[in-house]
């Protein structure tokens, strides 16, 4: 039975559970809903939750675990010689999955019967032609080992699916019966629903946290592989970035980190003053009317996709900087430059700084402004000496958040600053950042066992650690100084 059907049945059972649970609760109260412990709807909801949620949870776990189990079992069947021939275990297994999928397609289209699919042998049938006939193209002839592994794979998956369907439906039915049987007028359905809601909410946040952990672990694993192939000293302290897929690459982090920091610095030099001044104007000076249309206008900047900013850098800002600054000053003739990317990225970051700072400035109590005006201070004196110091922790937090955005930005850099890893002080020189190189190392034909490809994961992990550090620092600063006023 397809999964969709199973889920539909479970959900339908839940709906029936809601209606019946509700009805039964009212019936046990003799039709007088007032003597029930909870509102009738709670009894229904309780039955529905206990019917649906455990079954769906088990399903989620099952769907993750079953393929892993099946793969291990099938992998055992493949002889070492076949693995050697194909190059790696992973390649054989992808063949197996492809053939298994092909057999399914063939049955669906009627080219093979279920029995034939189970019993065909490479000795008697040309499996490759048969599958090509239903639109599944295979790269090479199917070996007997792969075919039997694929058949085994299908069998295990089928029985696994069947077993899962039975388990899920049983679980849903048991949940239904159990909670339905417990429904009577003294049952505290309201409290039980409350507890279930808590569990569901906790599960949701756990998933978010586990995903983060998963991302880190997967990067850790591949980074570990990279450091097995490439010495970590040369990665972290190398001053050259010259990857070459023929071997003998130099994969130093420093040029990329330098580019990242340089571009981010210029971006912040643009974004922080402009964003902060805009925020002060919005929060302190602008009339309600101006504010009501100017603020959304500024925030539009945040909604522009970064690739569009990249185009702006490529066709407008880059050539302009080259023609009016770099060439007359004799600083270079490249339209891709740190300056271009930095300025455009700074424009992108303005709304981040201004919007957050605006909220923070607005949160400074009016009593502090009154106090300052009452002493005969002007508006700008008040802003400079009272409001900005009071809002400073929040503003620093906003700036650090903008900095982590700048460090993670890719598109503007590709189009604005180029892709050459280089250490140079000249801001009109093309340079590049960590993120650009991650993309560069993983696009095109890549061999995931070479350090040139795996270096992307080490770069990603480094970047993750840097931005995580900045975010933690931002949170720490905001928390530590938050209660200065009040």
């Amino acid at each position: 039975m397809p999964l969709l059907w199973t889920v539909s049945i479970i959900l339908a059972l839940g709906v029936v559970g809601y209606v019946m649970g509700r009805k039964r609760a009212v019936a046990t109260a003799g039709g007088n809903a007032r003597i029930l412990h909870s509102l009738p709807g709670y009894y229904g909801t309780n039955v529905a939750i206990i019917t649906i949620v455990p079954a769906l949870l088990v399903m989620a776990v099952w769907l993750i675990i079953q393929p892993i189990l099946v793969e291990t079992r099938v992998t055992e069947m493949i002889p070492a010689s076949a693995i050697e021939e194909a190059g790696s275990r992973g390649l054989v297994m992808s063949d197996v999955r492809r053939v298994a999928g092909g057999l399914d397609t063939a049955i669906e289209q009627g080219a093979l019967t279920e029995d034939e699919a189970r019993s065909i042998r490479t000795e008697f049938t040309n499996v490759r032609d048969t599958l090509a006939g239903v639109g599944v193209a295979l790269g090479s002839d199917v070996t007997p080992e792969v075919l039997s592994a694929a058949q085994r794979y299908r069998e295990l998956s089928r029985s696994g699916n069947l077993f899962m369907t039975i388990t899920l439906l049983t679980l849903a039915a048991l949940g239904f019966l159990y909670s339905y049987a417990r429904t009577n007028r003294d049952f505290r359905a309201r409290n039980w629903v409350e507890a279930s809601v808590l569990v569901i909410l906790m599960l949701a946040s756990t998933i978010a946290i586990l995903t983060t952990v998963g991302i880190v672990l997967s990067m850790l694993w591949d980074s570990w592989n990279f450091f097995q192939l490439y010495p970590w000293q040369q990665f972290f302290f190398g001053l050259e970035w010259r990857p070459s897929f023929e071997g003998g690459s130099e994969l130093g982090l420093i040029p990329l980190l330098w580019g990242t920091m340089y571009i981010s610095l210029i971006a912040l030099l643009v974004a922080v003053p402009v964003g902060l001044f805009a925020a002060v104007y919005m929060a302190e000076y602008a009339s309600k009317r101006v504010r009501s249309f100017a603020k959304p206008l500024i925030e539009i900047l945040a909604g522009i996709p970064t690739i569009v900013y990249g185009l702006f850098a490529l066709i407008t800002v880059g050539p302009m900087l080259r023609d009016y600054f770099a060439e007359p000053l004799g600083l270079g003739s490249s339209s891709s430059s740190v300056m271009t990317a930095g300025i455009v990225m700074g424009i992108m970051l303005i709304p981040f700084v201004s919007s957050l700072s605006d909220d923070i400035i607005n949160a400074v109590p009016q009593s502090l402004r009154d106090g300052s005006y009452g002493l005969g201070a002007t508006q700008s004196e008040t802003v400079k000496q009272v409001i900005l110091p009071a809002a400073l922790p929040g503003i620093v937090g906003a700036i650090l958040l903008a900095a982590s955005r700048a460090i993670g930005e890719t598109m503007i850099v590709v189009l604005g600053a180029g892709a050459a890893g280089r250490i140079d002080l000249n801001p009109f020189e093309a340079m590049t950042t960590v993120t650009v190189k991650i993309v560069g190392q993983l696009t095109g034909d890549t061999n995931f066992s070479s350090p040139e490809a795996l270096v992307a994961f080490a770069l990603g992990l480094t970047l993750f650690v840097i931005t995580l550090g900045l975010n933690v620092l931002a949170l720490y600063i905001v928390r530590k100084y938050r209660e200065q006023y009040e």
Binding site: L368, G371, S372, Y373, G374, L375, G376, Q385, P389, A390
Partner: protein, 264 residues
């Protein structure tokens, strides 16, 4: 202090501020209706009245704090030493240095005690050297009866003081700019009785140098600290006179009803 008799000593000085026909509008609301008051020098004048009667609004007219509210409009004439404070020639920022204000809730800046007091003198350039500024800070803290408690912790944040100390710090801050009039908008309503007593004592001392105007909800407080009392009701000034007389023998029946607790 604590003297409710009619024949209390009122050493009336000359008139410091004079208000004639003052009207205030908040948008369409007519908040103050034709108020005439003379505020005397070296005197504590109390404004009493039920909530929403306009006493705080009127107080804020005296140093043009209402200018910071967009919808507020003020009509009529208010003079300080005979000069119209709403004259276009007058800079409201300069005026507020002369007419200081202390607010209902203590609002020290998130700065050190020293910087809080030095804020006004620094803005107005009242000192030319660090030594002079130190002197102003010490003098102001002494006047606000906070010096002994604060002298060893001048560099600690003003927000770390207790509520009563914070309010005295705000008074020291207002005194530091050398004002001629000190406006106080319910300065004790956020304080406990002991802190209130300290602040009231302080107000009585401040009277020797400044003209003090205090808005209060507590009639006992008005009776304790003021020499003159003005009773506001529904945006009108109902009665204005010597405190002893207002509290023992008011002319207007509404005043009598309010102080005896029948309206309000």
């Amino acid at each position: 202090m604590n003297d409710m008799s009619v024949s209390r000593d009122v050493d009336t000085g000359e008139i410091k501020m004079r208000a004639r026909g003052v009207e205030v509008f908040y948008g369409d609301t007519h908040a103050i209706k034709s108020v005439d008051v003379d505020i005397e020098d070296k005197t504590v004048t109390a404004f009493i009245g039920p909530s929403g009667c306009g006493k705080s609004t009127f107080l804020r007219c005296l140093n043009r704090m209402n200018d910071t509210i967009d919808v507020a409009r003020v009509k009529g004439e208010i003079t300080l030493d005979g000069e119209d404070i709403y004259d276009p020639k007058v800079d409201p920022v300069q005026l507020r240095a002369k007419v200081g204000m202390v607010f209902q809730k203590p609002n020290p800046f998130p700065k050190s005690i020293y910087d809080n007091v030095a804020y006004g003198p620094r803005i107005h350039g009242l000192s030319t050297s660090k030594g002079e500024l130190d002197e102003i800070v010490e003098k102001s803290l002494r006047r606000a009866a906070l010096w002994d408690e604060a002298k060893d912790r001048l560099q600690e944040p003003g927000t770390g003081l207790s509520g009563g100390q914070q309010q005295r710090l705000c008074i020291a801050r207002a005194v530091a700019t050398n004002p001629e009039v000190l406006l106080m908008d319910e300065p004790c309503s956020a304080l406990d009785p002991i802190a209130t007593a300290q602040v009231e004592e302080l107000i009585d001392e401040l009277r020797t140098r400044y003209s003090v105007v205090i808005v209060t909800h507590s009639m006992q407080q008005a009776a304790r600290v003021s020499q003159k009392t003005a009773f506001f009701h529904l945006g009108e000034l109902v009665e204005y006179g010597e405190t002893g007389k207002i509290f023992t023998n008011p002319d207007d029946s509404r005043t009598e009803s309010y102080i005896t607790g029948r309206i309000g």
